[in-house]
Symmetry: C2
Subunit: 428 residues, 2 copies
């Protein structure tokens, strides 16, 4: 039998799918046990269609979504257009027409995932999205299958290739944020408006999806606290290195006694931590669990072929399940009611970079502020910045978000201290 696919969009990633279907035909046939055919490809308009045909692409290009939705021979719709609309409408219509859907659209899944999964369930069809988190890394299926036996306590990830490329340059080459961004844009890693990548929004979308697979909880995007890399200075990077750390933008989801917390923030990672060596545009997901202990899954977070590999693995899974008559199960079956952690339960070490006039007694008064919140210091460093100012760097022992709020407020209210930066520090 041949299973027919309708492809929505024919950008970079989409053209990687036929590459794999062709170059890996023998193995894919063994896994899927049926042939897979790209029957129709939806493109934006007649102009794009003409251009693609002129370029030598031999697909059956269509410009009307109905040509795919109403085609009863098409069993699987693969959405690779990105953004919320019209992807959401097209996917909804495909699911309602009892077509299985594969998508790599993390924005859509992070914001409207629950709604789409419900529609898929009601219609007894599959909705798979392995490529939505960490592109080429097969993390979602691994969490769903191999971690079924294991209880995950924390999941941390370098989830955005653009910001990780920038941080790698800032750490290894001492580049400023501005230079790193400019280079990332020149290389095509960053868009002209880089907000989603550098402010941790893209990584927060992925954290939403990871929290479902790792903790069985559907956290709202709004509940993922996110802070980006734009405020990181060369001084922060240099001090981190001096103290034995590497700064990276890390997504961090953990389960505490009161519930789960999820955040994306620049984090000081000890140099020996496996995530600290994840460089350039590569991504990695680090898992802590009661069974395996510590494990890490590393690979490219984006790109044509890596993303196409994940999309094609989803397609193969659907084709095989159609053959085995086991289609329609949730991609992730682990589900518990959402419980968010209280601020008291979310604990971490923190780095404070504080500017202060270089006068006698400043360290005493700073120590008083931290001491009043029962926060103790792990590392202290003082540097003169010019003739009149000093930079005080403090790495604390573990403190709660509540303590962090209090001490930050105290520092901000003081006349004497100016908070330059506060970052999370991963303890040893």
């Amino acid at each position: 039998m041949t299973v027919k696919i309708g492809l929505l969009g024919f950008g970079t990633v989409a053209s990687g799918v036929p590459f794999l279907l062709r170059e890996n035909a023998e193995k894919i046939k063994q896994a899927a046990q049926d042939d897979i055919e790209i029957a129709k490809v939806l493109v934006r308009d007649e102009a794009e269609k003409s251009r693609l045909l002129a370029e030598g692409h031999v697909y059956n290009f269509v410009t009307d979504i109905d040509e795919i939705i109403l085609d009863e021979e098409i069993a699987i719709v693969v959405e690779l257009m990105g953004r919320i609309e019209p992807a959401k409408t097209f996917i909804t219509r495909a699911l309602q027409a009892k077509k299985h859907v594969v998508t790599a659209n993390k924005d859509l899944l992070a914001v409207h995932g629950s709604e789409l999964r419900t529609i898929a369930k009601e219609n007894g069809v599959a909705l798979y999205y392995e490529a939505a988190v960490a592109g080429g890394i097969p993390i979602l299926r691994t969490l769903a299958n191999s971690f079924a036996s294991d209880k995950i306590t924390r999941i941390m990830g370098v989830l955005n290739g653009t910001s990780n490329f920038m941080m790698t340059k800032m750490v290894d080459e001492g580049w400023t944020y501005e230079k790193a961004l400019k280079t990332a844009q020149e290389l095509g890693y960053a868009e002209s408006d880089p907000t989603n990548d550098v402010e941790g929004i893209d990584a927060a979308y992925k954290a939403v999806i990871l929290s479902q697979f790792a903790f069985g909880m559907t956290i709202d995007f709004e509940h993922v606290h996110h802070k980006g890399i734009s405020g990181i200075t060369p001084e922060d990077v240099a001090v981190a290195q001096e103290l034995g750390y590497v700064i990276k933008l890390v997504g961090d989801i953990q389960e505490t006694p009161s519930g789960i917390s999820a955040e994306v923030s620049p984090t000081f990672l000890p140099k020996a931590h496996p995530l600290a060596s994840v460089n350039g545009v590569m991504n990695a997901v680090f898992v802590e669990s009661i069974g395996i202990g510590e494990s890490m899954f590393y690979g490219p977070g984006a790109g044509q072929k890596p993303t196409a590999a994940s999309v094609t693995a989803d397609i193969i899974r659907i084709v095989r399940r159609l053959k085995d008559n086991t289609i329609g199960k949730d991609f992730n079956e682990f589900s518990r009611p959402l419980q968010l952690a209280t601020a008291e339960d979310v604990r971490s070490d923190y780095y404070f970079s504080i500017l202060t006039p270089d006068v006698q007694g400043k360290m005493l008064r700073l120590a008083e502020i931290f001491n009043a919140q029962a926060i103790s210091f792990k590392q202290i460093l003082q540097r003169p910045t010019d003739e009149k100012e000093a930079r005080l760097v403090i790495v604390t022992h573990s403190m709660s978000k509540t303590q962090l709020e209090h001490v930050t407020k105290q520092l901000e209210e003081s006349q004497e201290f100016q908070v330059s930066n506060i970052f999370k520090v991963l303890g040893d």
Copy 2:
């Protein structure tokens, strides 16, 4: 419904399985959709049974395998005894009695895997062994499922925790092989006879299993060339570091135009390579493929809970497949006829450490030997060892196994040169 399990052996790993079934009951129930009960546990003799009962273990301990094989209520047999016999006989009998089998026994699978898989197939039952390679890392299921879309070209792994612990100490602390071995034995990482771990035999077993999942080819253990770490000197370690490498024992399976080659050998890894940061008893599998490109899967290679997590994931999979009525498929369905690579097609850079009398013209004559085989140098280093000898270190550009054999023979036949060590070097 409750699915009943017969456990063969109650050593360290075996007791990790009930730990996970208990501590992760809610999630496991969602994934398996039926209850799982350890109905009987086979122990060696009455003495062991009495000891375990006295220790407070409340299982139904039996000493006769027939109590499990002939018990029609037991659906799954979990073998955690290790070694070839009686494990092989027990597993064979369990499969023939239409019981599904989960095992972590890599020695058995590497040597008798084909035979056991055939028996499982004939009886329509499952034979799963995720824990057999890299303990806690879910690499086999990931290769079988997520890499179905992707064509793997090379797979490299740090596959033996004992030897990696030793190499980490030899590299980071400058320890001799002897000191590293003694410490590994004191810590319980190495057995009193460490041959399997330090000579690459254990890693070669794992390479056999990996080659089936990654390349669809069942290579014989005898065809996995293996060389251990016992010959590595502190000089080799120091020179490696000076040249920008870390030495590790690496299993390496690759597909060449003529077929696949598999070997386990001490390998110079560039410091920035992801495998180079895999330290201590941790394992990792690094995959090169046409779709994803480069990916790595990192975690503990052994230990009670990690191994139990993989074993329990296999159990859950079987219980769920019984529920879904899809049981009996091969763990790995990718299969092609075995083709072994010719020596001409297996290429690598190599490190040569050569001792020679410190006399004029030696470098010229050495260069002549390599030049006669059309091998060119990438890096050269000369060190005096004492008043009369010099150590010449050469890192070559890519050469074939045929060239390697010829040049080694020439060096061994010369009066002048004494080959101290030859190791593989992973190119950048």
